[in-house]
Symmetry: C2
Amino acid sequence: MTTQAQLEGVRLIGQLARAAGVSVHTVRYYERLGLLPPPLRRDSGYRVYSPATLERLRFIRQAQAAGLRLDEIREVLRLKYAGQSPCDCVRALLQQKLVEVEREMAELRRFRRELHAALKRSQKLPRLPHRASAICPILESAPRRGHPTKP
Amino acid sequence: MTTQAQLEGVRLIGQLARAAGVSVHTVRYYERLGLLPPPLRRDSGYRVYSPATLERLRFIRQAQAAGLRLDEIREVLRLKYAGQSPCDCVRALLQQKLVEVEREMAELRRFRRELHAALKRSQKLPRLPHRASAICPILESAPRRGHPTKP
DNA sequence: CTAAACCCTAGAGCAAACTCTAGAGTCAAG
DNA sequence: CTTGACTCTAGAGTTTGCTCTAGGGTTTAG
């Protein structure tokens, strides 16, 4: 049978994923999260996508690149498809990100200072006697906070 | 019965946790990870700690504050209790962290530039006509990378 | 006709460091 | 004797964004 299979613009999930530079897993994942609408299906159950979905996927990647989280992107898309312009929402989100970035940078600067201090201490240490109770004197008079390891 | 309960220096997990400023869950968690040695037990199964454990907990928090991960701290402790000085290891770890911090700061700076650019774009946009196909023109000509949201 | 390449679902697993729950037992004070 | 604070274990849940597996079915080229 060749009925639905040859409609123009038809893409299966693998082609869509390749075109967007993501994995098929990711496409299905986004659908589950509500970032992509439930697509048409063949009788076999295969998902069939229109080019609009590719646009949308690209938008999602760009929004991600701009620092939005998937749930934020979902909200932006919801606004858009509710007929509103999402721009105010996006602006607010970006401004929020900016504040957060500044905060993180301040933290990193502080952390870097502390690392420098500890390393400097460590250069003087080898000749000092280590207290028996100490585990490592480099750390024993230490900084304050955890280090933001990246997700 | 008051047999074991009144030995001097005896601490139950709750007292230890309070003294160290962590939760009892955390203490048990550290034990499971091998950061704390299996403690003595009462007949009832209650953990009984010596002051040395409090020292160790404090060391762990300090090492964390210096940016070491729990598995790295475990390694440092292993070295120490294998009779070696962990200082070289710690120095190496801290130097590694420093490199990582520099990398992250560079990324954050780049990301901040991109946010500024997008926000600046957004100030000029409201009067521009939005392409029908566009979802949000602020994002449609966008930056490059994901934003390190903190753990 | 068969093999390769594709697709489906439901659900687990990863990183990291906790945090919390359920359900049960223990202990000290009044 | 009861109340309330404490403890135990084993295991699930949190966060975010995937990534992969198991165990199937479908399509297409040769």
